[in-house]
Amino acid sequence: MPKIEIDEKTCKSCGLCIEACPKKCIAFSKEVNKLGLPWAEFVKPQDCIGCGFCYQMCPDVCIEVYK
């Protein structure tokens, strides 16, 4: 099953990956990281299709995609 890994320490909470995900697998976390921002969290692993749209849109290159 495809999956993504998001580096919560460098995520700046811009939300571009959340907007880009066609399956809405990503959402903001309830907690905040050291930057004081809620990071993008991989919340629905069962729906991920490994398209890599989140990776394409992430301005901080903090997403890795496995397939």
Binding site: K12, C14, Q56, D60, V61, Y66, K67
Partner: protein, 246 residues
């Protein structure tokens, strides 16, 4: 399970200092991926600009240098002429390329220097807090045009690609955007082509990337993406402006 997308080798592990949602990060990654895919990392030299991307030398895992404001095409010319076997690129913003460095880019293009220029157009001076740039749209509110840019007072936006296309020497000029995954993949194709042109000794290539600047535009990230799509690219139409390689 295989890793299909991860940080390209041509980027260091240093976190970017850009604002959340800024297009510079995507542009950096596309440049790095193109260099990786062409297998030219060991012989590529980059020239960082003055502007938001001034620290680009910290982010690219390449030999990098830094030129005074607007001068990367001149510095890149010198590097390329003394090291013709190296791949040299200049990374510039719109204040850098279209204002103080207008002379350098026009003459480097006119000489047909075999270099690649990556030009980030975000319609304002980002690093200094969002003042008007030559590329600012008509009516756009910035720190120095609080009632919107008025053509009678500040002139019209300068379209660098169209301006350079009137010259004989440049071989490849294209304007791309990065507001959605489809556009990002298209931008990647353009950037890779601009580097491939240099590898094949074809001549001067420039890719203009229409980027968003949410903080200085005073918008949320999503609103800035929408503004690029609905307003920005109406003034700066996307596409190949000139391609002599075909």
């Amino acid at each position: 399970m295989k890793k299909i997308f991860s940080r390209p080798e041509s980027l260091t592990n240093a976190p970017f200092s850009y604002c959340p949602g800024c297009g510079h990060g995507i542009a950096h990654r596309l440049v790095a991926e193109s260099i990786d895919e062409l297998g030219i990392r060991e012989r590529t030299i980059g020239v960082a600009p003055v502007g938001c991307a001034v620290f680009a030398y910290n982010y690219f895992n390449l030999d990098m240098t830094e030129a005074p404001h607007g001068r990367p095409p001149a510095a890149a010319t010198g590097i390329k002429r003394t090291n013709p076997d190296k791949i040299v690129f200049a990374y510039q913003g719109d204040g850098d390329i279209a204002a103080i460095g207008m002379s350098e880019i026009v003459h480097a293009a006119n000489r047909g220097e075999n270099i690649t220029v990556i030009f980030i157009n975000n319609a304002n001076y980002g690093m200094t807090g969002g003042q008007m740039a030559p590329t600012t749209l008509l009516g756009q509110v910035t720190q120095t045009t609080p009632f919107g840019r008025d053509p009678k007072r500040e002139g019209y936006p300068i379209k660098v690609c169209e301006l350079l296309s009137s010259l004989e020497a440049p071989v490849y000029l294209e304007r791309v955007a990065i507001y959605d995954p489809k556009q990002v993949l298209n931008a990647k194709r353009a950037i890779k082509k601009a580097f491939a042109n240099q590898v094949e000794n074809k001549g001067f290539s420039l890719v203009e990337i229409i980027s968003n600047c949410p903080v200085d535009w005073g918008m949320t990230v999503m609103d800035s993406i929408k503004w690029v799509k609905d307003v920005f690219i109406k003034t700066f139409p996307l596409g190949i402006i000139k391609d002599k390689t075909r």
